[in-house]
């Protein structure tokens, strides 16, 4: 039986539905101490003094840490990925001398219980001298108030992405549409489990972390130099992670604080468990992007021929990982459209807001939203129906090389559009819309097409900073037959809900001709397994390609060893052997006979009883470590040209939204989502990812935003204010899929899960379609009741869109 394309119950569920998951905060240890962080109430301020005497005098408090002390204890500040001058930014996990964002840690208190640590925190006395806050990236670019003196500027990156004959295309255009300003708002996926870590800096020098970091391969490379240890001294483990969506990539800064606290506490284990308000204030926000002076050239048929624009990312207080976002968007430069001429001037600046981190759809989502807004605004201005506009502009031939050298592996966007129309009942809604408009009601139908590019070529980092020693990609899996004949698999991915144990077991079962129940896949990540490389982690929609290719490759090598061994035992030729399950469990048998050898026998022979083996089998261990590497080359840094991603999953969504004319309330009446991630390994899991990404996108589009006031005070710093989407706001999604197998993965699967922010494009399009009768153009991605109400009120003002017909 084939296990690919099936939906067996998840292996993870066995523990999770019983409340037997093992999350970081569940860990109890003998001598465990608890860490509380004292955080700045101000967004921008000099620290005059930090007085920890009263806290240290409190019985039960073991020790404290201040920013100045942290700087003393760390051999160097964290590496910044950006080039100079941003590379000179002094980035410590605790504010040193100056606070750059509200919620930045300024001191830590370590105590016997969480309550005592918090009591101690309340006794820490900090004097601040408040400074003016810089709240927008555009304001930051003026450098009137420089946040990081070590950099000397707020401008952390700038580069021009130019391809084709841009100005010539504008000269020849039949129509030029100009959009003054668009804005993609700040939000995050806010996993229900907060960040947490238990650090234990043992007296003999080893440093153990039990954490929920979702990209340990990377985190360990940042932690080791900053803490003055070797990568091998650190033993990093994860088990169950309560969601990450990219947000937990950056919790290495808090891991460092916990490590230093453990060392100061004499090597006792120290737990830090973030509260929700701490998470919202300081753990990381998705990047906010502003699009200025956009010009779109179109031919007489409404086909877009060129785009030129200026984009600015607001990366918050510290750039850290974030300058990668200045390049990652270019994986999807033309979105799903055949535009060949681009000039995008891209900048990034620091502000007095929470540092930006990868968030589901990271950096591509913002750009895809921009391209979808262009499509819809041009369609409305040229009076071309939104579906027709897309059909005229979609890429239809695959593989397709984009103007910047990325290769879209496969796809069929018109078929997805057709399927989504069927699911939603397009023609029917069009009639209802006409009726609604006749009654003066605001009903809109919006389409969003998006890409979920997966499996990064890390060489793209060099486009942002040529000195970075990163390129390609890789992931590891190990598989072995242990001495009891069990099939044991370990992964480097450290998942956070993506069902890697289940899909791995399916691939192994498929390869060995057994069933997934007979495959034990260890949970989480552990450097002690030797199953990791620098790229190991769960991010960028890649496990189906990188992780499962590693599993598949490991299976092939294991099978080769098993065939040799079984041929020796059964005195048969390797060609006559077949894998399967017999009366004594998983086995290899000689085709057409009752001769067979089971896994227990083979495992025991290799591990316990090896003197009987022939000399030529001396290399057989039944213990395989396989590294998968996608076939990438280093991009041309000067031209900003190369294949940046291996696979391109796509989603096409349609939403029907009615807007209350008086109050602005946007109500989703119908919603359809069509997915194409190539060959599907497990339909139930893919469907779950699509639904989850859809909820994140709808939540972000109609509810969630990190809103700061002019002093840098976060107004949405609890869930009661941030209001993540609930079951009451989530529509019933009509879900469908098509499959265009990728020619670039062994199975035809494409990485998926991030979803490309499809609902943001789709909701913006539907709101636009609803409000077009009022002459309103949608140029912001946030459509809460308040935002839409403001839009309705401002309808007499200029939309900032001009159309120049030639």
């Amino acid at each position: 039986m084939s296990w690919i394309g099936k939906s067996p119950n998840r292996k993870e569920d066995v523990r999770l539905i019983r409340g037997q998951g093992y999350f970081v905060d569940d860990k109890q240890d003998y001598g465990l101490l608890h860490l509380h962080l004292v955080r700045s109430p101000y967004a921008h301020a000099h620290i005059i003094n930090v007085d920890v005497a009263a806290a240290e005098a409190l019985p039960g408090v073991i020790c404290t840490l201040t920013g100045a002390e942290v700087k003393e204890l760390m051999p160097e500040s964290f590496m910044e990925l950006g080039p100079e001058p941003a590379a000179n930014i002094q980035d410590y996990p605790m504010a040193v001398g100056k606070v750059i964002f509200q919620g930045e840690p300024v001191a830590a208190v370590v105590a016997e219980t969480p309550a005592l640590a918090a009591d101690g925190g309340a006794l820490v006395d900090v004097d601040y001298d408040m400074l003016d806050a810089v709240i927008t990236a555009e304001q930051a670019m003026e450098d009137e108030e420089v946040l990081h003196e070590s950099a000397g500027t707020n401008k952390t990156w700038q580069g021009v992405y130019e391809y084709g004959e841009v100005d010539a295309a504008f000269d020849e255009a039949a129509t030029v549409v100009k959009i003054d300003r668009m804005h993609f708002h700040r939000f995050a996926s806010t996993p229900v489990e907060n960040n947490a870590v238990v650090a234990e800096w043992k007296r003999h020098g080893e440093l153990d972390f039990f954490c929920n970091n979702s990209f340990v391969g990377f985190a360990q490379q940042l932690l080791a130099p900053a803490l003055g240890v070797s990568v091998d001294q650190m033993h990093i483990k994860t088990h169950d992670i309560g969601g990450s969506f990219g947000n937990k990539i950056s919790n290495y800064t808090q891991m460092a604080i916990a490590a230093l606290a453990s060392r100061k506490a004499g090597g006792r284990p120290v737990k830090w468990a973030e509260t929700r308000t701490e998470h919202l204030l300081s753990s990381g926000h998705g990047n906010e992007r502003t699009f200025l002076d956009t010009e779109v050239a179109l031919d007489k048929n409404g086909v877009i021929t060129a785009v030129r624009s200026r984009h600015i990312d607001d990366c918050g207080a510290y750039p850290r990982y974030e300058p990668l976002g200045c390049v990652i968007w270019s994986q999807v430069l033309p979105a799903t459209y055949g535009v060949r001429n681009f000039r995008i001037d891209f900048s990034q600046a620091v502000t007095n807001k929470c540092p930006a981190v990868p968030n589901r759809g990271y950096s591509r989502m913002q750009h895809l939203w921009f391209m979808e807004r262009i499509i819809d605004i041009c369609a409305h201005k040229l009076d071309i129906p939104a579906d027709e506009m897309r059909l005229r502009n979609y890429i239809t031939e695959f593989p397709y090389t984009t103007p910047n050298g990325c290769v879209y592996d496969s796809g069929n966007y018109p078929a997805m559009l057709e399927k989504a129309k069927e699911l939603i009942g397009w023609d029917d809604w069009k009639k209802k819309q006409a009726d609604a408009r006749a009654e003066g009601r605001l009903l809109g139908i919006g389409i969003g097409t998006t890409l979920d590019s997966g499996t990064n070529n890390f060489g793209q980092a060099r486009i942002m900073n040529p000195h970075l020693p990163f390129s390609g990609n890789s992931e590891v899996a190990t598989i072995r037959i242990d001495l009891q004949g069990s099939v044991i698999v370990t992964l480097g991915s450290g998942p956070s809900g993506q069902s890697h144990e289940t899909t791995t077991a399916q691939v192994v079962a498929e390869e060995l001709g057994i069933n997934p129940d007979l495959v034990r896949v260890r949970s989480g990540f552990d450097t002690g397994w030797n199953t990791f490389v620098g790229h190991s982690g769960s991010y960028a929609s890649q496990f189906a390609v990188t992780g499962l290719s590693a599993v598949h490759g490991a299976c092939e090598k294991l099978k080769a060893e098993m065939r040799r061994l079984a041929a020796f035992i059964l005195e048969a030729s390797e060609e006559d052997l077949e894998f399967g399950i017999g009366e004594e469990g998983p086995q290899l048998s000689v085709k057409g006979t009752d001769q067979a050898v089971n896994y227990w026998y083979m495992g025991n022979l290799v591990n316990n009883d090896n003197a009987v083996l022939a000399g030529e089998l001396g290399d057989v261990t039944l213990n395989i470590r396989h590294v998968y590497r996608p076939p990438f080359t280093v991009p041309d840094v000067e031209r900003k040209y190369g294949n940046l991603t291996l696979t391109y999953a796509a989603q096409l969504h349609i939403a029907v939204i009615e807007i209350d004319r008086d109050f602005g309330h946007p109500r989703i009446l119908a919603y359809a989502a069509v997915d194409d991630c190539g060959t599907v390994i497990n339909p139930k899991i893919v469907g779950g990812q699509v639904h989850g990404a859809t909820a994140h996108g709808i939540g972000a589009a109609i509810m969630e935003t990190f809103q700061y006031d002019e002093t840098g005070n976060l107004l949405t710093s609890s869930f009661s204010d941030y209001c993540p989407i609930t079951s009451m706001n989530m529509p019933d999604v009509q879900y469908g899929s098509i499959q265009t197998p990728s020619p670039f993965s062994y199975s035809g699967a494409k990485g998926m899960g991030e979803g490309g922010g499809a609902p943001l494009h789709t909701v913006s399009a539907a709101v636009q379609d609803a409000l077009i009768t009022e002459g309103i153009i949608v140029t912001d991605s946030h459509h809460s009741v308040t935002s839409v109400f403001e839009l309705l009120r401002s309808k007499d003002e200029s939309s900032g869109v001009q159309v120049d017909k030639r």
Partner: protein
Amino acid sequence: MSEDIDKVSIQITINGQHYKRDVEPRLLLVQFIREELGLTGTHIGCDVTYCGACTLLVDGKPVKSCTMLAVQADGCEIHTVEGLEQDGELHPLQKAFSENHGLQCGYCTPGMLMSSMALLAENPDPSPDEIRKGISGNLCRCTGYNNIIKSIQAAAKEMAG
């Protein structure tokens, strides 16, 4: 500060097991259950009664245990996720969540299951809209809720026989 705080003696029954402990009056019920008793199936997600990860049943009623003090539960009978499975047999809700992919990371699941228990106890045959209302105090960031609604419908059907 804490050394001045007198502890209070409480008695609570959790999943049929009787516990007697002296606790600080400020100790939250969820902290008591997780840290004092080691029942870590009940999770903490937000501290402000929004996310519902800490939902459990107090005398049959769903309660977010991050906003109830342990001393307030003195004398109460509490049920947590660890008590759902009986004699090695999963509760129909547990089975239905797994079969319908009503969970991914599993962090919200214990709270979601306990709210569903309360919902089905009060309304054994809820409509999708009633289910949405019933779990509206429980946040899930992974599933998008649709599969959770299906799971609860499936469990209701199973429980009705």
